[in-house]
C-alpha cells in the first residue's frame, strides 16, 4: 500500500465539476463538523468558501491554541552544498543552470554551525542539492555529526534515500526529515522534472514512508505551490498527511505550503497562489488535521508571518539564509531563492512575544 493507491481513487475525479457544485450550505455544514471527510475538505478549500474565511480562521485559531498552546517553534536552514543532478525547471539550483556551485568542507560546516548557533537557534535543517555523488552519504553523515554537537535537533532536506540509510542517519542524531513531493499532479510533475532521479514520481512519493519506517521522529511534507492547481494540490497534501498520520502512529507529521519563488530561472508560474488562498489552505488544514504541525518559512513576508501565527502555524524559520555558507560568507554560493522575511532571530522572537506567543528554541533533547 502506498499513498499512490489513494491518489488513484481520484484519477477520474472531476475537481472542477465538484467544486462548482459546492453550495453555501455544504460549506456551513462542513464548518460545523469536528471530523472532516474529504468532501468537507474540498468544500472548505473551494473558492466559494473564501467568504467564510473569518469563521474558519476563528476555529483554526482555537484548535491551534488547544493543541499547541501559545507557542511557536523556531528553526533555521543550513545549506552545505548546491550541486544538483536534477533538472527541475522551477529551481535555481537545477543542474543545467550556470551558477556558482559550492560545497562546504567539514571545517566550514562547523563555522556555519557556530555562527548560526550564536543567534539562539537550536533546531537546524540541513540542506543540500540533490547530488548523490557530490553530496554523498558519508558527507551527509559527517555533516550531521558536526551539527549534532551544536544543535539540539537536526533535520535533513536532501535527496530521497532508502529506509536503511535514514535509519543510519537517525542513529547519528537526525530526528527530522523534510521531503516535498513538489507537485501531486502527475502530468505536471513529468513536465517540470525533465532530468535526474527526481523524475521517479513514485519513489519520491513513498519517501516519507521510508523515513517513518526508519524511525525518524518528525516528518514534514508539502507541495510547491505555483506548480499544480492550488485546490487539488492542497487537497492531496492534506490527504497525504492524513494517510501518513493514520499509518504511522509513532511519527509526528507536519506540512508546509511553500509558494514558488523562481529566482534564477525563466520559469513562469503555472498557477499563482494569492494570499487569501494561502491563508485558506492553512486554516482548512488545521480543521482537517487539528494536531498536525504547520511550518511557514521566510519565503513568506514578515507582514503575513506576523498574522499566520494566529491562524494555525506552529513552526517558523528565522534569520534564514538560503545560500551555501550564508552564515559565515565562506565559500558562499548564490541563494536557492530569495527570502522575504529578512528579520533576525531576535526580531522574530520579539515579534512573537509582543503577540503573546512563546518562542520555542529548544523542543528536543539529544538522547
Amino acid at each position: 500500500m502506498s499513498f499512490n493507491n489513494v491518489l488513484k481513487h481520484f484519477d477520474n475525479f472531476d475537481f472542477d465539476k465538484y467544486l462548482n457544485s459546492v453550495s453555501d450550505s455544504d460549506i456551513l455544514k462542513s464548518m460545523q463538523k469536528s471530523k472532516l471527510n474529504h468532501y468537507d475538505l474540498l468544500n472548505l478549500l473551494s473558492d466559494k468558501a473564501i467568504k467564510y474565511l473569518e469563521s474558519i480562521a476563528e476555529k483554526a485559531n482555537k484548535l491551534t491554541h488547544q493543541y499547541f498552546g501559545r507557542a511557536i517553534q523556531l528553526y533555521a536552514p543550513i545549506y552545505i552544498a548546491n550541486y544538483c543532478q536534477n533538472v527541475c525547471l522551477y529551481c535555481g539550483f537545477n543542474a543545467r543552470n550556470k551558477i556558482n556551485r559550492a560545497k562546504l568542507n567539514l571545517e566550514e560546516i562547523e563555522k556555519e554551525a557556530v555562527n548560526l548557533k550564536s543567534t539562539g537557534i537550536e533546531h537546524v535543517l540541513l540542506l543540500t542539492g540533490e547530488d548523490y555523488k557530490k553530496s554523498g552519504f558519508e558527507y551527509i553523515r559527517n555533516a550531521v555529526q558536526i551539527l549534532k554537537k551544536h544543535f539540539h535537533s537536526v533535520s535533513i532536506e536532501i535527496y530521497p534515500m532508502e529506509a536503511e540509510e535514514y535509519s543510519e542517519l537517525k542513529n547519528e542524531g537526525v530526528d527530522g526529515l523534510t521531503i516535498y513531493q513538489e507537485v501531486y499532479d502527475k502530468e505536471i510533475y513529468k513536465k517540470v522534472h525533465i532530468a535526474g532521479k527526481k523524475q521517479n514520481y513514485q519513489y519520491r512519493l513513498d519517501t516519507p514512508e521510508r523515513g517513518a519506517i526508519a524511525g525518524i521522529r518528525t516528518i514534514n511534507i508539502g507541495a510547491l505551490f505555483g506548480l499544480g492547481n492550488v485546490i487539488s494540490e492542497a487537497f492531496f497534501t492534506a490527504l497525504h498527511a492524513k494517510y501518513l498520520s493514520d499509518k504511522y502512529l509513532n511519527t509526528e507529521f507536519s506540512v508546509s505550503f511553500p509558494r514558488i519563488n523562481t529566482k534564477g530561472t525563466d520559469f513562469s508560474i503555472i498557477s499563482n497562489v494569492e494570499d487569501k488562498k494561502f491563508i485558506q489552505m492553512i486554516i482548512v488544514m488545521r480543521l482537517f488535521l487539528p494536531k498536525i504541525g504547520i511550518t511557514v518559512s521566510t519565503r513568506e513576508s514578515s507582514k503575513l508571518r506576523d498574522k499566520i501565527i494566529h491562524l494555525g502555524a506552529t513552526k517558523l524559520s528565522a534569520g534564514s539564509s538560503t545560500a551555501v555558507g550564508g552564515y559565515t560568507h565562506l565559500n558562499e554560493s548564490e541563494k536557492q531563492f530569495d527570502i522575504t522575511d529578512t528579520r533576525s532571530v531576535d526580531e522574530i522572537s520579539k515579534m512573537l512575544k509582543s503577540n503573546n506567543f512563546q518562542p520555542i528554541f529548544k523542543d528536543w533533547e539529544q538522547i
Partner: protein
C-alpha cells in the same frame, strides 16, 4: 490538616500545574501564586539551560517542587534517558513518566511506562507515571515503586473532562498510592468532579495556560480543587458515620 504526600514530600495543595503552552513565561510565577500550586511539571525537552533568557526553569520560584516530565519519549529507554538527564541538570528526583508512541491520539503506552517506572524507581527517583486508566497497569506500577499513578481523564489537550470516569473510580478504589488525574481537565468543574470522586490531586496545564487570563484561571482551579476535596472529605465522613451506626437490619444475627 489535610495534606498529601509524594515520595518524601508533603503538600498542602492538591493542584499540580504545568509550564507548557504559556504565551508569556513571566505569567508562570503569578499563576503559581494565584493557584497556590506547589508542584509544576516541565518538559525536559524544552529546558534550555544554555539560554538564560529563555530557560523555563528561571521562571519557577525556588519553593516550588519541580516535576520534570519525559514528554517526547516514545519508549521506556528514551524516558529513562530523559529522566537521568533531568536529574543531572539539577531538576531533582521527581519525574513524571510520559511515554507516547501515538501521535494521532496522544495515548500513553502503559507497557513501556511500567518498564521505565521499574528502572527509575530502583534509581530512587520519585516516579509519577502517566497512564491510560487500567487497574492492572496501576497495580503493576505500584509494585514497580511508583509514588503515585496519573490516569488520563480524556486525551491530552481535548478538554473533555472525565471521559474515563468509571475506570478512574476503579483505580481510586484499589490503589495504595495517590491517584492524580492528569489530562483532559478543561475547566474547574472537571477538576472539582475528579476531587469529589476521591482523586488525591489533579494536574492541569493547558486549561490554565491557554486561557485568556492564566492567573485568574489558576485561582479558579485552586478553588475548584479545594471545593472538590472538601466535598469528598465531608462525604467520606458521612459514609463512616453510616458504617458506625447500629445495625437495625442485620443486628439480630449477632444477638
Amino acid at each position: 490538616m489535610d495534606t498529601f504526600t509524594l515520595g518524601n514530600k508533603t503538600f498542602k495543595s492538591r493542584l499540580l500545574t504545568g509550564t507548557g503552552k504559556f504565551g508569556d513565561k513571566s505569567l508562570i510565577p503569578k499563576m503559581l501564586e494565584s493557584s497556590r500550586s506547589e508542584i509544576i511539571t516541565v518538559a525536559l525537552r524544552r529546558v534550555n539551560i544554555n539560554n538564560p533568557e529563555e530557560n523555563i526553569l528561571n521562571f519557577i520560584p525556588k519553593e516550588i517542587t519541580l516535576l520534570p516530565n519525559t514528554s517526547g519519549a516514545r519508549t521506556a529507554e528514551e524516558a529513562v534517558k530523559l529522566a537521568r538527564i533531568a536529574r543531572a541538570a539539577g531538576c531533582g528526583d521527581f519525574i513524571k513518566i510520559e511515554i507516547i508512541n501515538d501521535m494521532k491520539y496522544l495515548m500513553p503506552d502503559n507497557e513501556e511506562t511500567i518498564k521505565a517506572t521499574k528502572i527509575l524507581a530502583a534509581e530512587d527517583f520519585i516516579v509519577l507515571p502517566y497512564i491510560n486508566p487500567d487497574v492492572i497497569a496501576a497495580k503493576k506500577l505500584e509494585d514497580a515503586g511508583a509514588a503515585a499513578v496519573m490516569p488520563l481523564g480524556s486525551p491530552i489537550g481535548s478538554h473533555q473532562g472525565l471521559q474515563t470516569r468509571h475506570l478512574i473510580e476503579i483505580l481510586i478504589e484499589n490503589s495504595n498510592v495517590p491517584i492524580i488525574v492528569d489530562a483532559g481537565i478543561g475547566k474547574p468543574s472537571h477538576a472539582a468532579d475528579a476531587m469529589e470522586m476521591g482523586a488525591d490531586a489533579v494536574l492541569v496545564n493547558s486549561a490554565i495556560a491557554c486561557s485568556e487570563d492564566p492567573v485568574l484561571m489558576g485561582q479558579a482551579f485552586c478553588k475548584a480543587v479545594e471545593a472538590g476535596r472538601e466535598c469528598f472529605i465531608a462525604g467520606a465522613k458521612e459514609k463512616s458515620k453510616f458504617a458506625e451506626a447500629s445495625s437495625p437490619l442485620t443486628g439480630f444475627i449477632f444477638e
